[in-house]
Structure formats: C-alpha cells, structure tokens
C-alpha cells in the first residue's frame, strides 16, 4: 500500500502534471480524485490538507505538501527518481528556472487564452453569450505566441550553446519541468487552440517525446485516461463557434 496520497482534479493542469509524473516514473500512489466543479476543494476535510483550498496536494504519512513544483521535486527525490530533477547541477538549475518562470511565463499566457475561449464556448447558445473582447483576444494571442517562442528558445536549447536543440528541458532525460510544461500547453487543446503549440516543429516534437516517455513509463492508455476530462470538455463545447483562432 503506497504512503503517497494525491489530491487532484484532472481538469487542473498542475494536478495532471503530478498525476502523470507519478505514472511515468512508476511511483505507486493512492488517488483522491476531486471534483472542483462540485467545490470539493472548499470542504473542511480538504482544507485540513491544504488550507489554501487548491489542488494538487499530497499527503505522505502525516506530511502534507502543496504547490505542484514543490510536490514534483519532493516526490522525485523521495522515491529515488532524482534524474527527473536534473542530472547535473546546471540542468537542475535550468529545471528550477523553468519551474519558477512558468507561473507568469507560461501558465498565465495559456490561461489568458484558455479561459475566455472556454467561457465563450460554455455560453454559446445562451441568451447572454460572453463574447471575447477582440483586443484582449489579440493581446492574449500575441503574449502566448511570445511565451512559446521564449520557451523553445530558452528551454529547448543547450545550456551553453544557444543554437543546439535538446530533447527535453532536462537535456537527454525527461524532467518534472517537461511534464508541467506539457500539461500547461495541452490544456489549450480542450478549447481547440492546439494550433499554438503545433505551429513550431521543435515544440511539436518535444510534446510527442514527452508523450512517448509518459506512455513508456505509465503504460499504454495513461495519457488517454489523464486527458479524458479535458477531451469531454472539448466534445461538449465543440458546437460553439464563437472563438476565432
């Protein structure tokens, strides 16, 4: 019986990242699958685990931990998978740099495209459809394009030679940063915005390489199971045509 309990909702990118990491790294864990739509994260039992009321969180014995970047690094170290945190001091630093940068550098621009598009689709066909403000949409589109460009340029290139491509943020070995980045970008597919990450051959290849590692470690169907809730969102609102690419 595993000593790790993961509290997560697969609709949440950081939740999915920890879930997929545990699967890919073959670390057994107990699933506490929560439904944010039903506000399970606000219930008193969960607030005992995470007073901030957010997912994901882990409980290892009596030790509770929040913040996906901290959780990923902790579990990798705890369960003898330190290579996921970087094989050299420099790659460790590069991974840390990504984990820190991504809050405003990747997550924010992705959310600023994702949320308005999602709301627009949800309200499609309703009396008051929430339309996307064209200027905001244009700004958000540009910001995300810049973010993905910066991601490719700074994280998928060699540490000292800025021209040579590397396979993962962690170099030749996949890292916790790659999983987190993958989940953040993949979220865009739920609202039909996968074009953003499919545009660059290098980013597209990197995503395919991350997916391959996840399936290798977690077994066939790991990604399908993890992305199921997102796919349901995509199918449910596929009829909406309010969003412009």
């Amino acid at each position: 019986m595993s000593d790790i309990t993961l509290y997560f909702d697969l609709l949440s990118q950081p939740s999915r990242a920890v879930y997929l990491f545990l699967k890919a790294a073959k670390i057994p864990f107990k699933e506490n699958n929560m439904d944010l739509m039903k506000e399970e994260h606000k219930k008193p039992e969960y607030l005992q685990i995470n007073p901030a009321g957010q997912v994901p969180a882990v409980k290892v014995g009596d030790f509770c931990l929040t913040e996906s970047a901290a959780i990923l690094k902790y579990l990798a170290s705890l369960k003898g998978k330190k290579d996921w945190n970087g094989k050299t001091v420099e790659y460790e630093a590069r991974i840390d740099q990504y984990l820190s940068w991504q809050q405003s550098g990747m997550r924010k621009p992705c959310i600023e495209v994702f949320i308005p598009t999602l709301i627009n689709k949800i309200t499609f066909g309703l009396f008051i459809q929430k339309n996307i403000d064209p200027k905001q949409a244009e700004d958000a589109k540009k910001a995300l394009e810049v973010a993905i460009c910066q991601f490719e340029d700074r994280y998928l290139k060699s540490l000292t030679d800025k021209k040579t491509k590397i396979k993962f943020i962690g170099g030749s070995h996949i890292s916790v940063a790659d999983i987190l980045a993958y989940c953040e970008l993949y979220q865009l597919s739920a609202v039909g915005k996968e074009g953003f990450y499919k545009k660059s051959p290098a980013v597209k290849q990197w995503m395919a390489d991350v997916e391959k590692e996840i399936e290798n470690g977690g077994g066939k169907g790991t990604l399908e199971k993890a992305n199921k809730r997102l796919c349901e969102v995509k199918e449910k609102f596929a009829a909406a045509d309010g969003a412009k690419k």
């Binding site: 030790f63 901290a70 340029d153 000292t160």
Partner: protein, 233 residues
C-alpha cells in the same frame, strides 16, 4: 572565469541574491543594472537575458535567471551550509520549495504591486497615486501575512525550522518592499511575522542592511515625495 551578477538593489529578488552572496562570502563581479535608467533595455543586456529582467547570474557562460533557481544553484555549486537548502532532510527541503513557489503569486505579487502603484507608476506617469488600485492589492496582503504566520512559520523560528534558509531571505526581501512606501504596518501588525523578519535581518547582518540601503534611502525620500503623489503617510 568569475561569477558575474547583474542586479538592481531596488528589485527584491536582486537584493535577496546580493545579500545571500555577501553573507556566504562568494566572490562575484558586480554588474549593477539601473532599472530606473532603462539599462535593462540595452541590446547588450537583452542578449544576456531576452526577458530583460534582473537579477541574472552568468557563471562562466552558464546564464541563469529566476532568483529561486539562483539561490538553489549557488547553494549546490559552492557547497554552502546545508541549512540554506537541506539536501538530506527532504521534508524541510520541500517546505522551502513550497514557499519559493507559493510566493510568486502571493507575497511577491501583492507587495510588488503596492510598491509599483505607490511609487513607480505615479512617477513614470507624472500622475497621482491610483488609490483604488493600491487598495485592491493591499486588501490581499493580510491573507498572505496570515498564511506565512499560520502555515509557513507555525511555531518555527524560520520557514524550514530552527535555521535560516533561502526561503526566509526571499520572503523578507519581498515584504520589505512595503517599507519605502510607508506600508510596513501590513507586516508589523503581525507579531510573529515582525519577529521573524527581524530575526532574519539580524542573522544576515551586516549584509542585510548593506543590501537594503537603497530601501532605507527610498523611504527617507518618500517622506517628501509621497505626499506630492497623493500619499498619506
């Protein structure tokens, strides 16, 4: 080749790394970048860091941004005392990481925005302080202080326990950004947080005061400048 450090001491993470380098007697080539003069927009700096932000570390060609990453890198590279970032006590290490990642959208964001709205923006726009915006960010700070008090400190002297770590340095530097704009009551009103900040300062002195000199000078200047921008001190 020497370690080059690019910074502006008015920037909270710049200050944290500077104090950390000094306190640990790590030799470095200081490369001050004056943000107020727009030096971070220079082509030369942009080549080094396309995000045009400070701080930046250049360790013999290995360029690193993000203060969180730098603190950890320096601890590993220079084999500093374990309490800064414990290698063997994974729970302490995790708690430090948890703070370092939580603080971006909490301590850092709210305190930086109050400072920006009370000084940087009105001066740049040559306009009065937008009180609505200041109040909006100030309103979030009690929650931040409470979380530091209850969740991160608890009964501990420092975030990770009895000894100072990289989380404490960054935490205190971010909160101190309220001091030059006369908003320190947001943290001095909490006895535990106030005591923790003083403890961190004493542990790191004289380097803490040296690194924070510009903060103290700015507060003095704000005494006259603030009211011209519409601030009530």
């Amino acid at each position: 080749m020497a370690l080059k450090y690019y910074y502006d001491l008015m920037s909270q993470p710049s200050r944290a790394i500077y104090i950390f380098l000094k306190a640990n007697k790590i030799n470095f080539v200081p490369k001050p970048v004056a943000l107020r003069k727009g030096e971070h927009f220079n082509d030369e700096f942009k080549k080094l860091n396309p995000w045009q932000k400070v701080p930046v570390l250049d360790d013999d060609g290995f360029v690193l941004t993000e203060s969180v990453a730098m603190l950890r890198y320096l601890t590993s590279k220079f084999k500093l005392a374990d309490h800064w970032y414990p290698q063997n006590d994974l729970m302490k290490q995790a708690r430090i990481e948890e703070y370092l990642h939580w603080q971006h959208l909490n301590t850092r964001m709210q305190c930086a925005m109050v400072f920006q709205q009370k000084l940087i923006m009105p001066v740049a726009r040559q306009a009065q302080i937008d009180e609505k915006k200041v109040q909006r960010f100030k309103a979030e700070i009690p929650k931040v202080i409470n979380h530091i008090d209850q969740y991160f400190l608890g009964d501990n002297k420092f975030i990770a326990g009895d000894e100072i770590s990289v989380a404490d340095i960054l935490g205190v530097c971010e909160l101190m950004q309220l001091y030059p704009v006369y908003e320190e009551q947001l943290y001095t009103s909490n006895d535990k947080v106030k005591a923790w900040m003083e403890r961190v300062r004493q542990t790191l002195n004289p380097h803490f005061d040296e690194g924070s000199a510009i903060v103290y000078r700015t507060r003095k200047a704000y005494e006259k400048l603030g009211p011209t921008l519409g601030a009530k001190l």
